[in-house]
């Protein structure tokens, strides 16, 4: 049998891109799909994916579970399990297009669900924690079933193939969102499978990542103590859980979370003039030392209402940001940004460890 990730280690190269409308204006996925074309050579056809925010306004109070199943029987079994925990508001196949470039697709399904209130009360869990635990349980224990997206009013679309083909496969031009992220993958020694493509998500948090985390195992062991099971052994998965832990569990701000995972060097902290800033960075590095992510990365972190782009502190991967009107563009290469908007202004290159945070204007999503 072909080995899946987790049985084989995969270092990866990659391409990332993102676009967001600060006004919360929704637009189709065609633009982000096209952005991946000039970066074609950064991927090798073993993974492509997208995250889209604001695409399910008609079901915005439901968690949208996007799932892969290896066969019909697995789906039927999983539905029995889901029905014990959720009211399933809608269940449908995710529409796809048959194209020669994409083959061996699993069953791709989506459920719009609401957790049973009685169950939440009985388990004394808040809704998000309940959903997160259910997702972890399915991914760790249910063979052949994989939840790859579980947020409200958002969804990810991913698979094995070049990203520009994956976008066509999932008919992204038919969706309309205010924020999109994209990833093209270059795993170098793995068969690659659909669940291993980026983005990696939990609830509405999604990560696309270009790089290779050398601290993966240290990070994984730490985060495991708080109930996060890394089931894929791809480094990116752990970033998603770290962000969930820092933001949802510990209540840090995005800026603080960025200072934890891409902490400045001690010498840089020492040289800071601002005493408050110095103490804060010292505190964050000391308390969350096991969550420092070392090795090269550039990531885009998506969430309901915004995006954050971040490079590792040594900036071992490239990242470019640009703006035009209400939109902000982020990509591994300027060419990708120019493909989305030829007339992009204020092109700049964020420093290593300097988060670029874009939030929607209040109340527009």
């Amino acid at each position: 049998m072909m080995k899946l990730e987790g049985q084989i280690r995969i270092p990866s190269g990659c391409a990332i891109a993102a676009v967001i409308s600060k006004e919360g204006k929704r637009f189709s996925g065609e633009m982000i799909t096209n952005s991946m074309k000039p970066m074609h050579d950064r991927s090798n056809g073993l993974g492509g994916g997208f995250a889209a925010y604001g695409i399910y306004p008609e079901y915005k109070d439901c968690y949208a579970l996007h799932m892969f199943f290896d066969e019909r029987a697995t789906r039927k079994n999983c539905e029995v399990f889901l029905k014990e925990r959720f009211e399933i508001v809608k269940s449908e196949i995710i529409p796809t297009r048959k194209i020669p470039a994409i083959t061996d697709a699993p069953i791709v399904w989506r459920y719009f669900v609401q957790p049973f209130k009685s169950l939440l009360d009985a388990m004394q869990l808040d809704e998000k924690e309940f959903v997160a635990r259910t997702v972890m349980k399915i991914n760790a224990e249910m063979k052949g079933a994989y939840v790859f997206s579980s947020g409200k009013n958002m969804g990810t679309f991913k698979g094995v193939g070049f990203p520009e083909d994956i976008g066509i496969f999932y008919k992204l031009e038919e969706y309309s969102g205010y924020s999109w992220t994209a990833h093209g993958r270059y795993p170098t020694n793995t068969p690659g499978w659909w669940g291993g493509a980026h983005p990696f998500t939990l609830l509405d948090y999604s990560i696309v990542h270009n790089g290779e985390i050398s601290s993966y195992d240290a990070n994984r062991r730490f985060i495991k103590m708080f109930g996060y099971k890394c089931t894929l052994q791809t480094d990116t998965e752990v970033i998603t859980y770290i962000m969930d832990y820092l933001l949802r569990n510990k209540g840090l701000t995005l800026e603080e979370a960025a200072s934890v995972i891409a902490a400045p060097f001690w010498s840089t902290i020492e040289a800071k003039d601002d005493q408050y800033d110095k103490e804060k960075h010292t505190f964050l590095r000391t308390v969350f030392s096991s969550l420092l992510i070392t090795g090269p990365f550039s990531i885009v972190f998506g969430f309901n209402g915004g995006l954050m782009a971040l490079n590792d502190r040594l900036k071992l991967r490239s990242m470019v940001v640009g703006e035009k009107d209400d939109k902000v563009y982020i990509a591994s290469e300027e060419a990708a940004i120019r493909t989305m908007e030829p007339d992009t202004q204020n092109i700049y290159y964020p420093n290593g460890g300097e988060p670029v945070i874009i939030r929607l204007k209040d109340g527009v999503y």
């Binding site: 060097f265 840089t268 490239s318 120019r338 290159y349």
Partner: protein, 245 residues
């Protein structure tokens, strides 16, 4: 557009096809609608190329005498391992510009990203020069072994910080001119810094003449400022790490 130039619309071409077109003619070429094609003019000898739009990574890698002008920003690894020739960028460059170059010149009007001039070296009669008009990111001249890197900080509002963190890390050859007092810059212990002398300025003027011509600057205005010169303390700082034989 100059009619002596062969015009190539790059919009739908992949990098291999684009480079094929460039090789098919000895005439100078003008590439339009460039968008991310990598390795343009890699290894090219004498030839003139003008590019409109953004060229992809490794522009002019292993360049061997050609002249490339880009009327926009360029991406990462411009002039990677170049041997001879000239690359002129009217915008910014991404990370690792002039990576391991050992000859030729790179002139950037705007800013450079991280690791500009990493592992730049000189070899026999080869002597690379890179001039950055704006500011440079962190790790400027990392492991620099030869040649000259000049950062001018023109149009920068932070005159005391025209380079990022950790410049000259592992530098063991060559020279750097920074148009700033560099009061707020931390240099590693294996390099020395000093104010430019009259002799230094004469050398600088030689390198800057072509730059000023290209980007329409007044040489004397640029020279009329404090320059910091950075050189390694020793030619062989890592001597103790190797067996003497």
């Amino acid at each position: 557009m100059n009619k002596n130039f062969t015009s190539i619309a790059a919009c739908d071409l992949d990098y291999q096809t684009l480079n094929e077109y460039l090789r098919q003619t000895t005439a100078p070429c003008h590439i339009t609608d460039c968008c991310g094609q990598r390795y343009i003019a890699s290894g090219f000898g004498a030839k003139q190329i003008i590019i409109d739009g953004v060229p992809g990574n490794a522009l002019g890698a292993y360049l061997n005498g050609a002249s490339i002008t880009v009327n926009a920003n360029a991406q990462d690894a411009v002039g990677d391992t170049m041997n001879d020739g000239e690359i002129i960028i009217h915008g910014n460059v991404g990370d690792a510009a002039g990576y391991a170059m050992r000859g030729g010149r790179i002139y950037v009007k705007g800013n450079a990203g991280y690791r500009a001039g990493i592992h730049m070296k000189a070899y026999e009669n080869k002597f690379p020069v890179m001039i950055i008009g704006g500011t440079a990111g962190s790790f400027l001249g990392e492991y620099q072994a030869g040649g000259v890197i000049i950062v001018l900080g023109l149009n920068s509002d932070k005159q005391d910080k025209i380079v990022g963190f950790f410049p000259c890390t592992g530098m063991h050859g060559g020279k750097m001119f920074l148009r700033s007092s560099c009061d707020k810059v931390q240099f590693p212990s294996q390099v020395s810094t000093r104010k430019a002398t009259a002799e230094d300025l004469a050398e600088l003027a030689e390198h800057l003449t072509r730059y000023c011509e290209l980007f329409d600057y007044e040489l004397n205005e640029i020279l009329n400022a404090e320059f910091t010169v950075v050189t390694p303390n020793s030619n062989n700082p890592y001597k103790q790490m190797y067996v003497a034989n």
